[in-house]
């Protein structure tokens, strides 16, 4: 199913960014890497903008909403996920403030940034686990052919990393291009080592 494929693809991209930040924090903490603050800020921005603008709205509209209409088995999990989607802005704001503070005070704010990041990563892990372990099996079980058709069309119409909307619309961020820039700028071995990151 295209909707499932794109959803999992997006989860992997988000997980890859989180993995990269975790790696860099570990290397910075061990004194083996000089921080690239612009890269860290760009990665945190990606975690903010991509799920908020593209990922969560598709989940809510094309998967969670129709699932509610089909069964009450998922209500508890969906209540939790939708509440988390609604709180996402406040949650990421904490991390954004921490990464900015770290850029202004590298010595004094590193630990606070590390803690904020670990909190965010732990939250996101639980969030994705709930989706993939609890909700997706119920979607597979209860969705009708019409539900799948609509979900697939909705996800295909907005497949920011590899699909039909790889080119950004006017005023939108081009997430495929941003992702490639992050990969290029991230230090080896997690990226191509072409940094420091240069914002447009």
């Amino acid at each position: 199913m295209d909707a499932m494929r794109i959803l999992m693809d997006e989860h992997q991209s988000l997980a890859a960014i989180i993995h990269a930040i975790r790696h860099m924090i570990g290397e910075i903490g061990a004194g083996r890497l000089q921080p690239d603050h612009k890269l860290l800020e760009a990665m945190v921005h990606y975690l903010d903008a991509y799920p908020e603008k593209r990922h969560h709205p598709k989940e809510d509209e094309f998967l969670f909403g129709p699932l509610r209409a089909r069964t009450h088995d998922a209500d508890a999990a969906l209540d939790r996920l939708e509440a988390e989607h609604a709180d996402a802005e406040a949650r990421i704001a904490v991390l954004e403030a921490a990464v900015k503070a770290y850029a202004q005070d590298p010595a004094g704010a590193f630990e606070a940034f590390k803690t904020a990041f670990n909190d965010y990563a732990a939250f996101y892990r639980t969030h994705m686990m709930t989706e993939e372990r609890e909700v997706l099996p119920l979607i597979r079980k209860h969705f009708s052919a019409e539900d799948w058709e609509r979900a697939n069309a909705g996800f295909i119409a907005d497949d920011p990393l590899s699909g039909t909307r790889a080119t950004a619309r006017a005023g939108e961020e081009d997430f495929a291009q941003i992702f490639s820039k992050l990969v290029a700028a991230a230090p080896a071995p997690i990226g191509l080592g072409a940094g420091p990151y240069k914002a447009d």
Binding site: R5, A16, S162, G191
Partner: protein, 268 residues
């Protein structure tokens, strides 16, 4: 098991990639033995024009053996038809000349040569056949991999793992292959680079390149592929459209299980 894969799995060795139009590669009953040990048994598969077909399976299942036999690196029994012509005994040089190209697991670059020289070597066979379009192809490869252009004068041996993988794929593309075979392109690479490599693989399909992708990273492979085969202990155990296999409980449990790759990324 889904209906689609159940039907396919009951006839696992039939080359039933029915959606494949204009097959570029048709393999039938391919077997390879290392002495008395049979590493590949009657494996059959089809790659259609412009398709990404993946072969997933655990380490030691025979995936690399299969690619090597198709390419003619290893002796085999069975039939390999490439671009409409039956190859009774595939031979590497002839397969390359006919447009088959393999990016091996170990990349096999020339470390003492520059990035650009490695790329140009990829066009050698075409050059020998009188096709002198390598300068234009080089620009196409650089457009796909801007990082290679930035490092064109660098020795290949000094590059990072991700850059080396990009160079290996870029070198293969210099031959303008009809069929690109990728052996574990994600092996040893960090998740961020793996995502980028698979994005590029998708882009190659959009450009019309037919791809046979061998991968242990089943999650990533099934996301980009059109059709998939599961190879276990030298035999095709399952096959079906990639999205159907990705939804199959047996595949999910064995290869995609939660707590798999991207969850590990989040927690380690």
């Amino acid at each position: 098991m889904t209906q689609q894969t159940q039907a396919a799995a009951s006839n696992a060795n039939a080359p039933s990639n029915a959606g494949a139009r204009n097959p570029v590669l048709e393999v039938k009953d391919l077997s390879v033995s290392y002495g008395k040990v049979e590493a590949l048994t009657n494996a059959s598969l089809t790659v259609g024009e412009g398709q990404i077909v993946t072969v997933i399976g655990p380490n030691g299942a025979g995936k690399t053996t299969m690619l090597s036999a198709i390419m003619g690196v290893l002796g085999s029994k069975g039939r390999v038809a490439f671009d409409g012509t039956l190859e009774v005994v595939p031979e590497v040089e002839r397969m390359v000349a006919r447009g088959m190209n393999l990016v091996p697991e170990k990349r096999e670059l020339f470390g003492e040569m520059s990035v650009e020289d490695n790329l140009i070597l990829g066009a050698f066979q075409r050059y020998r056949m009188g096709k002198r379009d390598h300068a234009q192809t080089l620009e196409e490869v650089y457009a796909l991999f801007p990082r290679l252009k930035e490092r064109r004068d660098q020795h290949a041996g000094t590059m990072s793992g991700g850059e080396r993988q990009m160079l290996a794929v870029g070198r293969a593309l210099m031959a303008k292959p009809k069929l690109l075979m990728l052996d574990e392109p994600s092996l040893g690479l960090a998740p961020l680079i793996v995502r980028e490599i698979f994005r590029i693989i998708s882009e190659l399909r959009r450009r019309g390149v037919s791809i046979l992708l061998v991968e242990q990273n089943a999650r990533a492979a099934l996301q980009v592929a059109d059709y998939a085969y599961v190879l276990e202990t030298g035999q095709i155990a399952m096959q079906g459209p990639a999205h159907a296999l990705a939804d199959d409980p047996r595949v999910i449990e064995a290869y995609l299980g939660f707590g798999g790759k991207h969850q590990a990324m989040l927690s380690t």
